[in-house]
């Protein structure tokens, strides 16, 4: 059965605008629609009425790019588990529901417009060390020539599935980015190619994370629950231990 819904949406003209919650009604929403398709319907309505459509981030709409965000009814990516907002379906809601939609809130994620936030702080953390240096002069050795035990390979792969959407920061009561940084540190620290620069990597990435103004992790575990890719808290523990080892060395 199609649904009629009330939406409470954060509207903010630009980064310096104060912003406020605004109520909208949408009708005849199919439960098979994705959440973003429902917002597309709302925007069509607004455009037809010569009103400014709601700005929100999206790209692949397949749950792999990490562009969509949104804090829906008090949870990052909404009430479903292990999905991004684009993979959240309207069947999770009921006819007559009121849905509150807000941008991801963090000092390090300033609002650009409406529901769009600037997550370039994550990019700067990646630039600080989230990579390996490889000689690409033509003599590059194939990574598969180095044997890696399966457990480490699997754990590194799981860490590497982080799409950097920022749900961990949005869900954390402290706006901590440690699940994201922990995943990025772990995916390299577990592999031989990553171990070479492990010390500098963790020190530089944590330094950048702190400079960006993210909060301190207090191990509530909210990030792990809300992460659309199920990134584990083990990654934070690994980063903590990598950081302490690196601090003692360097």
């Amino acid at each position: 059965m199609n649904m009629n819904l009330t939406l409470k949406i954060w509207r903010q003209k630009n980064a310096s605008d104060k912003g406020k919650m605004v109520d909208y009604k949408v009708t005849d929403i199919s439960p098979d629609m994705s959440f973003l398709e429902m917002l597309d319907v709302l925007n069509e309505q607004l455009i037809n009425k010569d009103e400014e459509p709601v700005a929100f981030d999206h790209d692949c709409r397949e749950g792999i790019c990490g562009m969509c965000s949104l804090y829906i009814n008090g949870e990052a990516h909404g009430p479903d588990r292990a999905v991004t907002t684009c993979q959240l379906h309207m069947r999770m809601f009921k006819d007559g529901d009121t849905i509150t939609i807000e941008p991801f809130r963090a000092t390090a994620f300033p609002v650009v417009k409406d529901l769009i936030v600037d997550r370039s702080s994550f990019d700067r953390i990646q630039h600080a060390g989230g990579f390996i240096s490889v000689n690409t002069s033509g003599n590059t050795i194939d990574a598969n020539t180095i044997p890696i035990n399966k457990h480490d390979a699997d754990t590194a792969f799981e860490a590497a599935t982080c799409i950097g959407c920022g749900a961990c920061v949005a869900s954390c009561k402290n706006s901590s980015a440690m699940l994201f940084v922990g995943a990025k540190v772990s995916q390299f620290a577990l592999l031989p190619q990553g171990k070479v620069e492990a010390t500098d990597r963790v020190l530089n990435m944590v330094k950048q994370m702190d400079e960006e103004g993210f909060g301190n992790c207090t191990n509530t575990g909210a990030c792990e629950v809300e992460c659309p890719k199920g990134i584990s808290l083990e990654n934070i523990a690994r980063m903590n231990s990598e950081y302490l080892k690196a601090s003692l060395k360097g």
Binding site: G74, S175, G215, C217, T218, G221, A222, N240, S247
Partner: protein
């Protein structure tokens, strides 16, 4: 190594170490208090030893006081920094969907414990310091020649309101430990094959120790 305490992970590590130290202290405090239930004489002997042995008084006691102050001050510093990391709150936030009440309210359970420590210092520590180091009486004896420690303990727990306050504080202690015990291990980087067992042990510790303190307070109230 330089600047480790200025980093978020360094502060987390320091917070966890002070917590682990305080949890070990709590265990020995509980063990000594439990003696008062089974053997007043043994309780008196151990209390006198703890209160007069130089290494405990002049080395371990200052370390303990530093540990307590450090844990509270760092807790407040982290709370202030964390609040700055989100200056605009959500209009709707469903914290219960992804985390425990204990983990989200460590600052409040911590404040309740701080208030309790102030009361506890007023009740026991300050009179002890007064007797020993201001009046200069290191004998630990009453006028009748018996040790004073068990007598003082029983006397304090006559007042039902004090017993009630102590019991409420122990409930907050349990709530604080239910998150804090395992959080400390996660902060020092220990999340491995032993974590599941450690979580069970942490829950048992967080419930048994405060419950034991409640039992001791009630025991002395009803057996005076």
């Amino acid at each position: 190594m330089s600047g480790i305490l200025n980093s978020s992970i360094g502060r987390k590590f320091a917070m966890a170490l002070s917590a682990l130290f305080l949890m070990i202290f709590l265990l020995q405090h509980f063990a000594i208090n439990l003696l008062s239930v089974f053997s007043p004489d043994a309780f008196n002997d151990v209390s006198h030893f703890m209160g007069t042995f130089w290494a405990i008084q002049y080395l371990l006691q200052p370390v303990l006081i530093f540990g307590v102050i450090f844990h509270f001050v760092m807790g407040f510093v982290l709370e202030i920094k964390n609040r700055k990391a989100r200056t605009i709150s959500y209009a709707k936030n469903n914290g219960a969907a992804n985390s425990s009440w204990m983990s989200r309210n460590m600052i409040y359970s911590g404040l309740a414990i701080l208030a309790f420590i102030c009361l506890h210092f007023y009740d026991f520590w300050l009179p002890e310091i007064n007797t020993k180091y201001i009046q200069g009486d290191m004998s630990g004896l009453l006028a009748n020649g018996e040790f004073r420690y068990f007598e003082e303990l029983q006397h304090k727990f006559v007042d039902i309101w004090r017993v009630a306050l102590y019991c409420i504080a122990f409930i907050f202690l349990a709530l604080h430990l239910l998150h804090g015990f395992n959080s400390a291990f996660q902060s020092v980087g220990a999340n491995n094959k032993y974590t599941k067992g450690l979580k069970g042990f942490g829950k048992a510790y967080a419930i048994i120790i405060p419950l034991g303190f409640v039992f001791i307070a009630l025991f002395h109230h009803f057996n005076h």
